[in-house]
Each structure stands twice: as C-alpha cells, then as structure tokens.
C-alpha cells in the first residue's frame, strides 16, 4: 500500500506540469480516494493503546501483525501464528511467505510489515540500512541443506556425487536465493560440480517438482525434506552440511510495534523452539 501511494504521488507531480488543467483536476480526483485508503490502512493496524501497558500483558495487544517469512519457513510460521493468536486473542497474525530476496524488495519498496524473517541474515542488511530495523535482530532457528530424492528413489541416488550424473534430472534453487547460494557453496566445498536441469526460483517450487517425481534429486532444506510429502532426505554426507540462520527483526516503521515485540519474544520461547524442531529446523 505504501508503495502504491509513493508511486501515485510521484506521477501526480511528474505529470501535472505537462497535463492540461482538466487532466490535472481529473488526476486529483483519482488520487484522493487512494490517499485516503492509505491513511486508513495505516491507521487500522496501529494498535489503539500504543502508549500504555506492559508488553507482556496479553489482553492489551490488539490489531493485525504482518510477518514476512522466507518461503522455507511457511509451514512452521502458520503453526507459530496460530499459537501466538491463542496467547493474544486480540492480535490477527498475517503471514506472507516468498523468496527472501523477493520479500526484501517488498520491504524496501515500503510494504507495510512488522516483522521480517529472511532465510539468510544478509537480506536484513539492506533493510537495516535503507528502511531501518528496531532493536537487535534475534536468531530464531537454523536450517541445513540436504540431498533429497522423491519417495522410492527410483534413480538410485546415493550421494552428492550423483548430482554430477548428466542422465539424472537434477534440480537446485537459483543462485540468487539463499537455498541456491548455500547449496552451491556447500557443493563447491565438497568438490562437486552439479549439472542441474533446472534452477528453480524458490525452494517451494523445487520441492514441488521433486515430490512429483519430475526430478531425481535436489538440494533442499532439511525442514522441507522433513515436512513435505513424497520426499526422502539422504542427509549431506560430505563433511558439515551448509547451514543457514533465520534472524527475525522488527522494522522501524512497524505499524504494530507492541505486537511485533511480543511476537519476537514468543519466537524465543520454548514453545516456539519445539515447533521449529518438530518441523525439521535446528534450535538457535
């Protein structure tokens, strides 16, 4: 919404100089409801009792809480959101999941969000510098990469070295997203040069193709291998597996700071840790 507003004002200014008076008047007419819409949207997520009450007071937390999570976190994030809502019935947690870099671009473009949890802390850097985060980021979970095969392992994949067999259908994440970057770094450390048949734009897409049996092997997160149906993990099997860390941070411009702080606290709780572990993640 913020992005829409910003763009709207830009064009308004840019065009007013050249447009005829009639068009300018028309533009203003068009813009007014949009601007009003933005104001309303910002208002309604801003907790009504910003200036009071302790952070831990469950009854005081209200409004919606927008949490942007890496695609690999989606399954566990839904569970965590449900648990948090049970603790704070006044809060409506909205989870949005996508590739970490996609989310980063959305945040930089002004998407209204309270908490951002990318799959790699590097994505927090740009956000920290350009938009600002409030307080320190906290490590909430870890994940490692594994070699995974479709259930049954028809192609008889046994080890990372099989990723170099040209006759097999091999999938990786694109190098631009964390799962692809970490996979390539880990494979290169193990001295393996994979011959992928596809570089999927995010890990969910890769898992879908693998589970459908349309790939013989892929490098995915341990959490995906644990939770996705139709996939078997073969582990890493060549020294230490590449790992990634999930750091959560509250954005400086978070519309609902109280709920965001409570949510960050909750992510460090034993209950949240159990949820992460049962979804195949490592504890922080």
């Amino acid at each position: 919404m913020g992005g829409v507003c910003a763009a709207t004002h830009d064009t308004d200014v840019a065009h007013r100089a050249t447009w005829t008076r009639r068009c300018a008047a028309l533009t203003l007419l068009v813009m007014t409801p949009l601007a009003a819409g933005c104001a309303a949207a910002e208002g309604d997520v801003d907790g009504p009792n910003r200036s009071g009450a302790s952070v831990s007071g469950a009854a005081t937390l209200q409004g919606s809480l927008h949490v942007l999570v890496a695609a690999s976190l989606l399954p566990v994030a839904e569970v965590l959101a449900g648990d948090f809502e049970l603790l704070h019935p006044g809060v409506d947690v909205q989870i949005a999941g996508a590739g970490s870099s996609t989310l980063r671009e959305q945040v930089l473009a002004g998407a209204p969000a309270d908490v951002f949890i990318p799959a790699d802390p590097s994505h927090l850097q740009a956000v920290r510098h350009e938009v600002g985060i409030s307080g320190e980021s906290v490590v909430v979970a870890r994940n490692s990469l594994v070699l995974a095969v479709p259930a049954g392992n028809d192609a008889g994949v046994a080890a990372l070295a099989d990723l170099t067999r040209p006759e097999l259908l091999i999938g990786l994440c694109a190098a631009e997203v964390p799962c692809g970057a970490h996979a390539r770094a880990g494979l290169s450390r193990a001295g393996i040069e994979p011959v992928p048949d596809t570089d999927e734009p995010n890990v969910r897409a890769l898992v879908t193709k693998l589970a459908a049996g349309e790939l013989d092997a892929a490098v995915v997160y341990a959490s995906d291998a644990r939770t996705a149906a139709g996939i078997e993990s073969l582990g890493w099997g060549a020294g230490s597996a590449p790992e990634t860390t999930y750091e959560a941070a509250m954005l400086t411009e978070a519309p609902n700071t109280q709920a965001a702080e409570a949510f960050l606290d909750f992510l460090g709780s034993a209950a949240a840790r159990d949820a992460f572990v049962s979804h195949g993640f490592g504890a922080p």
Partner: protein, 281 residues
C-alpha cells in the same frame, strides 16, 4: 484485445461515422472512469522508467544471461505462435462453422488457459506430460522423450497460454465474415479446401495476422506456465521473463533493463498493429 477484431471485416462505409463520433467530448463519468483506466495502466510504466538504469543499459542488455534468455525467448515464442496458429485456426473454424453437441463446452475448454492462473496451467501440463505424467510417463518409457526442462517444454507451455487468443480472434472473424464470396467460389466449382485457402483465409487475413502477433506477444511474456512446466535453466529454459524474475532478486538494474525491452517491444507491436489493422486516422 480480441474483441476489437470484430471491426476488421467491417466495410469502409461503416467505419466513417464511428470516426466522427470519436471527436465528441465524453460525458464526465465516462471521462473520469477512462482517466482512471489510463492512470492504472500508465503507472507501472512510469515506475519502470523511473527505476531504469539508463547509463548502463547496454551493458546490462549485452550480458551473457540476457542474450541467452533473449535468443531462447525469440525462438520459443515464434514457435509457440506458429503452433497456436496451426492448432487455433482449425479449432476456430470448427467452433464457428460446425454445430455439434457440447460445442460451448469445447469452446470453454480451449479458452480456459486465458483465465486460468498460468502456474495452474503449468502444473497441469507437468502432471499430464511430465516424466511421471498420465501421458508423459508412457511417452517417456516408450521413446525417452522428456518435455520438461527442454525448449520443447517452453514452446508447449507458451503455446498453451497463447492459442486461446488465436481461437477467439479467428472465430470472431469467421462469424463476421460475409459468406457470399465463399458461396460464389463454391458455385463456380472450387473445392472446399480451395475455397478455404483462396477465399476464407485471405478474407480473415487481417484478423489472423492480429491473432498470431498477439499470441506471439503473449508467448513472449509467459512466465508461470513456463517455470512450472519447463523449469528455469540459463541457456536452456530460462526465457526473458524468467530471467527478469531471477535478476530482480540479485541484479535489479538488469531486471529493469530487460523489462524495459519487453515493454518497448510489446508496446511498439501493439501500436504498430493498431495502425496496420485498425486504421484510425
């Protein structure tokens, strides 16, 4: 886009009054809503142009992965447009001329990809024609042919979303066709295929041209079905839209540069089409 082709077969005399009424000032609600429409479509372009890396544009566009993606995009979209014409024109002819039970079901079926989310279309193609697919499985076992992860998969995914545009456009043109010329040719002894080739096709030529070019433009911009069915590998299945999507994550300037080319190409094409097929001045 497709509905406008109905006017292509209108006689010259019918076009003139329409041109005169176009000079009228519109009533204010029309002007307001039309203005909102223009803003809606123009805004994203403004955003793109504002973000464009004008100084390094050529360096971005001549990088290896962009050139690879561009070549693949051009080849696969032209092939997809050819497939769309080859399959779409006969289908349009049948839908326009032959009355059979279930015709509306068939028409809905073949135009479904226009309204279906492309990702759903791609997933459906994968489940049908993938290695483990209903048809793809036996096909792979018998011939070793594998459509996903190849340019054939890209062409098929592109054709899947582009063909409905040909079908709707050509069917509309066929329905608006004055059939007396076909009857005259038949009366003079021309065979049915000769009538089709020498009378019908030339008469719907302009509409067919529009249909194929629009289908080509649609294929050029295809993303969801392609990435879901054919995957994304630089130099093999990564078309320009896929390259834009991946580059957006790591190299925004390159992504915007490619986007500008795609927009310029499509916009130029549509403007050219307008002048060529719907004379307005």
């Amino acid at each position: 886009m497709t509905s406008t082709t109905a006017s292509t077969s209108a006689p010259e005399s019918a076009r003139r009054p329409a041109r005169r009424t176009a000079r009228e000032l519109p009533p204010w609600p029309i002007a307001l809503l039309a203005g909102i429409g223009v803003v809606l479509f123009a805004l994203p372009l403004v955003g793109l142009v504002a973000r464009a890396p004008w100084t390094g544009l050529w360096a971005h566009l001549s990088s290896r992965f962009v050139v690879d993606a561009a070549v693949l995009s051009v080849v696969s979209s032209i092939a997809a447009a050819a497939v769309a014409a080859l399959v779409g024109v006969p289908l349009a002819w049948v839908l326009a001329r032959v009355s059979f039970p279930g015709r509306s079901v068939v028409r809905a079926l073949v135009t479904l990809p226009m309204v279906l989310p492309p990702v759903v279309g791609g997933a459906a193609l994968l489940f049908a024609l993938g290695r483990r697919g209903v048809v793809g499985g036996p096909l792979h076992d018998a011939t070793g042919l594998l459509l996903p992860y190849s340019i054939w998969g890209v062409i098929l995914a592109n054709a899947f979303v582009a063909t409905p545009l040909v079908i709707l456009t050509v069917e509309g043109a066929l329905r608006n066709l004055d059939r007396q010329y076909e009857h005259a040719a038949a009366t003079l002894g021309a065979s049915r295929l000769r009538v089709l080739w020498r009378v019908t096709l030339p008469m719907i030529g302009p509409a067919l041209g529009v249909a194929v070019v629009v289908a080509w433009a649609r294929a050029l911009g295809e993303f969801g079905a392609t990435v879901t069915f054919a995957g994304s590998l630089g130099g093999r299945t990564q078309t320009l839209p896929l390259a834009v999507f991946v580059a957006l994550e790591s190299n925004r300037d390159a992504a915007v540069a490619i986007s500008l080319v795609l927009v310029a190409l499509s916009l130029g094409l549509l403007i050219a089409l307008r002048d060529r097929w719907w004379p307005s001045r």
